[in-house]
């Protein structure tokens, strides 16, 4: 008999004119002087302005904005932002962006709530024992799901280690999902981040910690991505479908934060670190091959997923014994279609940034990555190396 836990206390505010709900949400937590944490990309794309003017119209002037979060956020960045927060006497945080601004804001919230200047002292899981300051998130990439995960990773550049933080208290009070925030996402980033969300769902649905609640979120997210991703690639300004992808990303985030991920992420973290490739692309490169590797352990759930990946007609037409293979074929086809649309690489070789001589080291890093713990099939160094070989060309 199985046992599971499921936790997601984040209020989701999604849909048309969702941004305009921000002033009310701030007031419901008695926030009068929020600090915005974001990056230059968000500002330059005009997304920050959309948020600020929605708040202004609602009678709330936001004056404290930190827009300089780097792609790999460090301890120093967190300390600097926390200092500014205190100086400006802010009383809440609004993160706008992808993974990096959101992770940074989570860490800043720990410091400004618990005190001190060194975020490293709060690293680990279960360290926090009480709620933090009011915290809100607006994701701008439909992929990471960070708005609903209880983890953050911050680099300690002096000691050259990554500091992990995990606590339910790091979850935001609300995540605001507005189609305007992802409307201008360039095609390759749209494709890669959607494949990240797809991988979160597929791994949540097939790995060791799967459970009925995370399954429901994962399956629904896969359906949304399958139905909308290619249509968005054809027509990038389709706000309705953009919203579908953004919601799918949040749903996938809820799924995997409650059931974890597996070998695709272990390989992807390692490849990303070794060759500096975007996370979503790494997911897309490994997903089909890891499913092949895991196949006999996950035949049943993977067969079920065909319904959501390919729709009821194809599901019904495919003999039961072939459904798992057909699921993998559908994901491969999606990958090839994305390549046609926006040139998203299909193989390690095609990225042009991976040397074959690096594969041994990537395999070694893979079996030391925490995500491998939850993969349904044990993977040795040789196994990881074999999957990398398959993904090569």
């Amino acid at each position: 008999m199985s046992y599971y836990e499921f936790f997601c206390p984040v209020k989701v505010i999604a849909g048309q004119a969702a941004l305009e709900h921000l002033p009310y949400e701030f007031s419901s937590r008695a926030v009068e002087r929020p600090m915005v944490v974001t990056d230059k990309g968000v500002r330059n794309a005009g997304l920050l302005d959309k948020v600020l003017s929605a708040c202004e119209e609602g009678g709330m002037d936001i004056t404290v904005v930190y827009d300089d979060v780097p792609a790999d956020s460090s301890k120093q960045t967190v300390t600097a932002i926390a200092k500014e927060y205190r100086k400006q006497k802010c009383d809440g945080i609004l993160a706008i962006g992808g993974g990096s601004p959101i992770d940074t804001a989570k860490a800043v919230n720990i410091l400004v709530s618990e005190g001190g200047d060194d975020i490293a002292q709060y690293a680990g899981s279960g360290v926090l024992k009480r709620p933090l300051k009011p915290f809100f998130v607006i994701p701008t990439t439909a992929g990471t799901g960070s708005e609903v995960t209880n983890v953050a990773v911050i680099a300690d550049t002096e000691k050259e280690v990554k500091l992990p933080f995990a606590s339910g208290f790091m979850l935001p009070d609300a995540a605001v999902i507005d189609p305007r925030m992802t409307l201008t996402l360039p095609p390759q980033i749209t494709a890669a981040t959607a494949m990240d969300a797809m991988t979160h769902s597929v791994e949540a649905f097939t790995c060791l910690a799967k459970n009925p609640l995370s399954d429901a979120y994962a399956a629904a997210a896969i359906k949304k991505i399958s139905n909308n991703l290619l249509k968005v690639m054809e027509k990038p300004d389709d706000a309705e479908r953009r919203l579908e992808l953004a919601q799918a990303s949040t749903m996938a985030g809820i799924a995997f934060s409650n059931s974890m991920v597996g070998l695709v992420h272990a390989l992807g973290h390692s490849l990303g670190a070794a060759c500096h490739l975007p996370h979503g692309l790494c997911m897309s490169l490994f997903l089909p091959y890891v499913l092949e590797y895991n196949l006999e352990e996950i035949r049943e759930p993977l067969s079920e997923l065909l319904l959501h990946l390919a729709g009821p007609e194809i599901y019904a037409m495919t003999p039961r014994s072939q459904r798992a293979e057909e699921s993998i074929a559908t994901i491969r086809k999606l990958r090839d279609d994305l390549h046609r649309h926006c040139g998203l690489p299909r193989t390690l070789q095609e990225t042009g940034k991976v040397e074959k001589s690096q594969l041994d080291r990537i395999a070694q890093m893979t079996i030391d990555d925490g995500s491998i713990m939850f993969n349904p099939k044990e993977a040795s160094l040789e196994d990881a190396r074999a999957v990398l070989e398959k993904a090569w060309a």
């Binding site: 599971y4 836990e5 910690a209 990555d369 939850f374």
Partner: protein, 182 residues
């Protein structure tokens, strides 16, 4: 009226079993780290002096292991005041019992939120592999394949070291029967 509740026999047996098995695991880890290349390979990456612990919350039975400079592991018993670099904490005695009586795989127990891992997750993955390797040594094949995801077929057993552990285990297994029948 205040009445002191007596701890039931099954629970006492469970506690004794967990305590005994942690001791068996600790001693066997020390032994295996001296002879088995695979375990030595896994452990090699850990920093010298690395302190690993498995504990039952709150303040239950525990085991502490330290990595030695010569690359082996030293069993330190059940009580060390120092904060471990990596700890696996079972949320309840029963969860430790499930894992240590090989009814639930270590990775599955973690996946089921039955234990907390504090420390570097990469090291936790390594220690899980070491524990799996250990189980394949001290358990009969049938039980071991339930306790680990995959049973390796390249076992070169240093038999002598583990025959003692096996006898120990047999005694311990009686506890499982005691607990199950009550």
């Amino acid at each position: 009226m205040i009445r002191e509740r007596l701890r039931p026999l099954a629970s006492q047996a469970k506690r004794a079993y967990v305590q005994l098995m942690l001791d068996v695991v600790g001693r066997s880890l020390e032994a295996i780290s001296q002879v088995d290349d695979e375990v030595r390979g896994e452990v090699a990456v850990l920093p010298d002096g690395f302190l690993f612990s498995m504990q039952v919350m709150p303040k239950g039975p525990a085991l502490f292991i330290r990595k030695q400079r010569d690359g082996s592991l030293q069993y330190l018993g059940g009580g060390v005041a120092q904060r471990p670099d990596l700890s696996i904490q079972f949320k309840h005695l029963h969860h430790a019992f499930l894992v240590l009586s090989f009814q639930e795989k270590t990775a599955q127990s973690f996946a089921n939120d039955r234990m907390l891992v504090d420390g570097d997750l990469g090291y936790a993955v390594r220690m899980t592999r070491v524990l799996n390797r250990l189980e394949t040594f001290i358990l009969p094949r049938l039980v071991a394949s339930r306790a680990v995801k995959e049973y390796p077929d390249n076992l070169g057993l240093p038999e002598k070291v583990f025959s003692a552990a096996r006898i120990y285990l047999k005694v311990a297994m009686n506890f499982v029967d005691t607990v199950r029948s009550s």
